[in-house]
Symmetry: C2
């Protein structure tokens, strides 16, 4: 393989093989109207010159990048990594490549991400980021970019959505707890962690209001370490409670802080992880959790995306119901 020479173009292949651009292009795209002999020859010079087509030029000519944009707040959460995993799997199977756009929970970045998604000319965009609102989605969509939105219910001509069934299930869990449970329930409110958590918090509050029970809302940080420290302090004065935590790591911060404060789980302190991952069952004590298989979500999202691109998506809305997996951290 020769170093330090410019990339060879289709034009050079044409000249070197003695055929025209058109013919070379035909063999590249495996079209039929070309003699077996010329095909062989052209392929030979392609190999000899080490020619690789430019996806850029192809995309410009065909108006198709085989590229799908993924909008997420961060790649750093386990459940998002799981989803990413599912998406890359079916994307690869269907010949697409994924481009990452991360907003980092910032509205400012979200704005620039919207711009970039449009300018980058991706064939479609999968959005799992509450920082983008309906208007942002519509804006992207208005630029002929098909969209699949995760954790949202908006649909349209070229926009489909996947949403999560949490509220109903969580109300069920809470009201069931009222029957035999003896502890006050606390909801761990994490600032700016999205509409899903907001909806769940609302369901939490409603459940208590409906049964005229008192409850607590605890503001906490989105990091394990800080939340752990906060609960070490918290447990100095309060010695029991049932805590609903957003993610496994937040839930583990509570159980660990409880244990390290000499409290028992689930005797004194009960904890439920709302977005459970495999770590919920790996933690000790094992975390009771709600669960949606995010890899499946990612796969479904990409399936919907490719269907959208092929013009054949009938069900533009799909719902994943959460499971309740009672384990050790609750009674």
């Amino acid at each position: 393989m020769n170093n330090m020479k410019d990339r060879v173009t289709i034009y050079e292949v044409a000249k070197a093989s003695g055929y025209s651009l058109a013919t070379v292009s035909r063999v590249i795209n495996k079209q039929s109207n070309v003699t077996e002999e010329t095909r062989k020859k052209v392929e030979a010079t392609i190999a000899r010159l080490g020619y690789k087509p430019s996806a850029l030029a192809q995309a410009l000519a065909t108006n198709k990048t085989t590229n799908i944009g993924i909008v997420i707040p961060s790649a750093n959460y386990v459940y998002i990594a799981n989803m990413l995993n599912g998406m890359t799997e079916v994307a690869k199977a269907k010949g697409y490549v994924l481009t990452l756009f991360v907003t980092n929970h910032s509205r400012e970045d979200a704005l620039s991400v919207v711009e970039k998604v449009i300018t980058s000319h991706v064939d479609g965009a999968v959005i799992f980021d509450d920082e983008l609102d309906v208007e942002d989605i519509n804006k992207i969509s208005s630029y002929q970019v098909p969209v699949v939105v995760v954790n949202n219910t908006i649909v349209g001509d070229k926009v489909a959505s996947i949403n999560f069934g949490y509220e109903h299930k969580i109300k069920e869990i809470i009201k069931n707890y009222f029957k035999s449970g003896d502890k006050k329930m606390y909801f761990l409110h994490v600032h700016n962690s999205g509409r899903l958590l907001e909806r769940i918090e609302k369901a939490f509050i409603e459940s208590h209001l409906e049964e005229k029970r008192s409850y607590g809302i605890l503001s906490c940080d989105d990091s394990y370490r800080q939340t752990y420290q906060d609960f070490i302090s918290f447990f100095k004065n309060t010695h029991q409670g049932y805590f609903l935590a957003y993610r496994d790591s937040i839930a583990m911060a509570v159980t660990n802080a409880a244990l390290d404060s000499g409290l028992s789980v689930p005797g004194d302190v009960e904890v439920l992880s709302i977005i459970g991952t495999k770590y919920a069952s790996m933690a000790r004590p094992q975390l009771s959790a709600m669960h949606i298989d995010m890899k499946q979500v990612g796969m479904k999202a990409m399936d919907m995306m490719t269907d959208l691109l092929n013009g054949g998506l009938d069900e533009k809305s799909f719902k994943f119901e959460s499971n309740y997996l009672p384990r050790v951290s609750t009674k």
Copy 2:
């Protein structure tokens, strides 16, 4: 925002504003040689028409996509997600976007990934995937794509590398353990999990050979659940040992299996996680672990990448030394 109309091009902006392509192009690229007045006018019609430049056409014209390819075996590991997080952060700051190429530990996929990285015309590629060997890297590099390789030592004109210092440290840990430790050491061998683990395994073996100690190599699966089951069986016959595990989840499989088998940690069973993440300190008992901050690695990799792109990378090789963080799972 109008729906269902074709994307407006620079040509239409030119016509609508009464200026030429060139002028419009200049205001888009914020060049100086344009009157404030015409700038205003052009920007007005750009806004009015909702024009967005095509990154594709720009890339074709300038020979610069602002796009960096990331090659990884999977997005599903925590330490890779951490690295991704670091990379997206500096990429965004420097105006780049990341596109993902995943090999899924398959040589076949690795081959097609090499092709795709080349054809996709990314400005550069960061590779953290042992499925790609030196020849693959050289091939990519020969197509004028600057490369930063993580977990490798190869360097070249346009290829830099980041490598990890594990072997020395692990030998130190092992030999130190020989002084007071009383258990036989086992290395958990995971099939096809890369050269880093292979090197560490080699260091493990060498340490024992040098001191004429016996050791064990245990083949295990790369999943928590399977490894947990395997160790439940294992601990029926064997009741103690010092286990070196690749990742936190594998290490947790061992500690959990030990505990659930009635063994004590670290009394009967000691465990060291080689690639520790934050989960090592969240697990109970807390895992002793080796640690490299993968977010920092990702940031450094992107820094090196952008330096490479700007032609000014002096240090083409960088080494991250691992830390040893003794916690509860070892004495």
